[in-house]
Assembly symmetry: none
DNA sequence: AATGAATGAGTTTTCATTCAT
DNA sequence: GATGAATGAAAACTCATTCAT
């Protein structure tokens, strides 16, 4: 459907050039569609922007399809917070969304929901891992998930602040050892 | 001086409405100065914006003037990462700057320098504390500072994503216990 | 028939919002018909507009069906120039048409024809009344009709300029006494 | 001052082409000013339009400066309701304003005020004429003024509906005899 | 007949910048 | 130094019309 396609274009443009340089014309040109069409579907720019931000946030993060042990899954998810060319697009988009959402109640609610969902997902993975004997059982899953989320977001922010190889290595090590600490010997 | 006053206005406007809705007219109106004057002093908008971002980042964060034990100083600095009405303005500005800087090499360098400066400052505090016997001496200061910075930035991000009382309490506790862990018994 | 229905919608929209804010989309939305359909039937907007204006002007003003004496009929027709909630729609439409028609020769002709038709109709009523002995016979029917038309249009304009209860009462009185003056004793 | 000049241009354009075909570009071109300038002064089109309508309505109608007997003055004012090339511009503007004002409370109030002002002015002229022995003293000035206003507006409307020489002659005669009727013998 | 997505020309509006005072 | 009116290029938005279905 055309609407979704346009939202994808907006997502790309924002991750590449930031919200402040998004213009209707840019979107029109990149998508080979007239500005009239965009306005026909979204009524105005703000609508388009919000729809795009929301859409990107509800993209089926493929976590659910991760295979393997709980530990492997957790490592994979946590590692997605390490910047690489491949995933940069998402995090550049994310930081724009985060900045923008602080001024938009509706988006703040979405952020908040997304955080809760993530927390539950990570906690569930830990619980599963404990039941399968992969993880230490003396840790509270929710508490642990929250600590891990704090760590990965801290490392992510550091990477966005200072994006060199060294800090990525540091991030990888920290994530690795944080999960090591969960594993039962 | 007038220049600094204008930069302050820009800082306010960005923290309130985001970089993308900063206009010369806004600045002129808020500061009761004509657009002509602003251009006279800063030549153009880009200059003004960059000057404002730089200025805000070099504001005499009064850390250096903190009195008391190293532990007290470290707690105070770390606690400044907890959102409160009073300090929100800074973090709202910060997140906008961070999003913006990912696309501006020059600003990325500033971010990077600021991170390094912070890291050195925190490490120095820890070293001082160790020398005064306040902190455990078995910890590497730089390593510890880096870990603390990761934690406070993670907690900050969480607070921006989900800004309720509960998460602020959580942030406060985490910061508190992270520093407790440094203290020698 | 669908065509007439659409013309009614156009009439409503013009009387409510004026000709200058009539858009094809408005018409489509109000009538629950697609813009494509409207263009299919009327070819383009100008056609639709003209058809609507013409149609409204040829609406079977139910005068012809008025029952009763010539005097009663004349009073009823003249009283229709008094603004009431019920009939406002017509006069709001009329004033828009009048303003518009001053720049459209074709419509000016229609206006002119309508005026002549009205004049003949009123004159005929007066003639009938004279023959039936209801009206004074010393008055020229056409001259009298013309004077009455001047009066009712003058009162109408006053009501559009200043729409309060007092002026409506005044209009009613003037119309009443203008017709009283025709009645033979 | 430039603002007033622009309002004059808008007045001209409306009287020539009607409100519905007024565009910012037209105004800009006719006044040799950029669209940016117009928006700088009036913020948006609606503001400009309203300002122009109001301005035109408050133009110092030169009545007050009419010289001569009360009768001469009254004749002159009343005769200004007869369409002539010279004065058409005003009445074409006026009919547009009237149609537009029915949908704008603020303008309706202006219309209403203007009507009252006119009524008072005409009544005063009649009173003056009576005192000077020019007019019959058995007529109530306000009542008479109201009747004259009804007549001239009726004749005006007729002229707008059917703008031929015959009707202008008729209007002239009616106005003439209406005032004759006031004159004392 | 009817639809409504798509168009693109035209319109309004925004805004950084210039410049005469 | 300071002003703010003026600019024009670029942006957002409107809308009658077309056309494949």
């Amino acid at each position: 459907m055309k609407q979704d396609y346009l939202l994808g274009v907006v997502y790309d443009l924002i991750s590449e050039h930031g919200i402040e340089s998004l213009t209707m014309r840019n979107v029109a040109e990149r998508s080979n569609v007239s500005t009239g069409t965009i306005n026909y579907h979204f009524k105005n720019k703000e609508n388009l922007l919000i729809a795009a931000l929301e859409e990107a946030y509800s993209l089926p993060k493929d976590w659910a399809n991760y295979k393997g042990s709980s530990e492997a899954q957790l490592r994979r998810i946590a590692n997605s917070y390490i910047l690489r060319a491949k995933s940069d697009r998402w995090w550049f988009f994310w930081i724009n969304y985060l900045a923008y959402s602080t001024r938009h109640p509706k988006m703040q609610i979405r952020q908040s929901e997304r955080y809760d969902k993530q927390l539950r997902f990570w906690a569930q993975l830990i619980t599963d891992g404990q039941e399968k004997g992969e993880f230490r059982t003396d840790l509270d899953p929710v508490e642990t998930a929250r600590r891990l989320l704090t760590t990965v977001h801290g490392l992510l922010t550091l990477q966005l602040m200072k994006s060199d190889a060294e800090i990525r290595v540091y991030a990888r090590e920290q994530i690795s050892s944080a999960i090591d600490a969960l594993v039962s010997r």
